[in-house]
């Protein structure tokens, strides 16, 4: 909003009309972001990559969402043999559903009455993006990364997860080579649901471990 800017910039006539690529500056960006956009501008101009390649890459990334992880969970809930393969070797098992994360290693951890698992990347932001989409901002935040390994119960409580002392918490720190996903418990009352309906119950946070209980939805309300 122009009222935020007391100085009158006047009419700035910029003579860079030969520039081919106009970065999208519809959102306010800081100086470091401008460095990134300047890099992008120069790389596009030099043909290091093309605008079409950028568009396709963004479309592919934006198309990944937690529905992929949910599909894997629903299959595991309905097919015990698949579940066994998934827990034994996640990297190989998900290929059966058309997901290939290699050369990354992929490990699935099962929650049960006695154990709750939660995932973090303390050093940066490693996350199975192809299966869960863009990671939430809090996953990348310093506060989550710093505290979940030291006081996981307190952090989980902030997410609304109340764990009795009898439940053991296991925190899994991702690496550049290894990605984790949680297999949440199948909710009671979901016995009659088919695989697609089961997948619809699975949330992003339950796949990260910052949610424990899933609830069957009322099909009429869906």
């Amino acid at each position: 909003m122009s009222s935020d800017h007391p100085t009158d910039h006047g009419h700035h006539h910029d003579h860079d009309h030969a520039r081919t690529f106009q970065p999208d500056l519809s959102e306010p960006v800081g100086d470091a972001a401008l460095i990134g956009l300047a890099l992008r501008d120069l790389l596009l101009e030099r043909g290091v990559y093309t605008a079409e390649e950028e568009r396709a890459t963004i479309a592919r990334m934006a198309g990944a969402n937690p529905g992929n992880g949910a599909r894997i969970v629903a299959r595991a809930w309905t097919d015990p043999a698949f579940k066994a393969r998934l827990l034994d070797n996640g990297t190989e098992a998900i290929k059966e559903l058309g997901y290939d994360l290699s050369p990354l290693e992929f490990t699935v951890l099962e929650n049960d009455e006695r154990v709750h698992n939660v995932v973090v990347c303390t050093l940066c932001s490693c996350y199975p993006r192809a299966l869960l989409g863009q990671s939430p901002a809090w996953y990348k935040s310093k506060n989550y990364r710093a505290r979940i390994v030291r006081e996981p119960r307190a952090v989980l409580a902030e997410f609304g997860v109340a764990l009795p002392d009898s439940v053991e918490v296991r925190v899994h720190d991702s690496t550049a080579e290894l990605r984790y996903m949680i297999l949440p418990q199948r909710p009671a009352g979901s016995e009659d649901l088919d695989e697609a309906a089961l997948a619809a119950l699975v949330t992003r946070d339950s796949l990260i471990g910052t949610q424990r209980d899933l609830t069957p939805k009322d099909p009429a309300a869906h």
Binding site: S2, A38, V48, T57, I58, W138, K140, A146, V149, E158
Partner: protein, 121 residues
């Protein structure tokens, strides 16, 4: 903290936050902005084209940021800074041309801002 553990913490780098004291987790959801997608795509394409060898190279750049920059910058801003360092180090871009381009973008953004709403877009 002993002198030794302070030195170790400094050597670990600003990214190694596991177990450090920190405040409540801000759980608000954040839609990825268009410029953030563009930076993300840039990194992936630079790796795909072999300009950057892998994500480790990007992380290495992020981990070498000054601690105050690491704290101050947002996620994709850190990526931006790390790619800038990497490409300048490789001699693929000059610091001067990058600086000039940043100034040009800044001027363009200011002009669009002064002319808003409705002007220039």
């Amino acid at each position: 903290m002993t002198k030794e553990s302070e030195d170790t913490a400094a050597a670990w780098g600003p990214h190694d936050v596991g177990g450090r004291p920190a405040g409540p987790v801000d759980r608000s959801e954040h839609d990825t902005a268009q410029w953030e997608w563009q930076i993300d795509a840039m990194v992936r394409l630079l790796i795909q084209k072999g300009v950057l060898s892998d994500f480790a190279e990007l992380r290495d750049g992020v981990e070498k940021l000054e601690p105050e920059d690491y704290e101050r910058l947002s996620y994709y801003e850190r990526w931006s800074a790390a790619v800038a360092y990497a490409l300048v180090d490789k001699g693929l871009l000059g610091e001067d041309e990058l600086r000039r381009r940043v100034e040009a973008l800044r001027a363009r953004a200011a002009a669009a801002d002064a002319g808003a709403p409705g002007a220039g877009r």
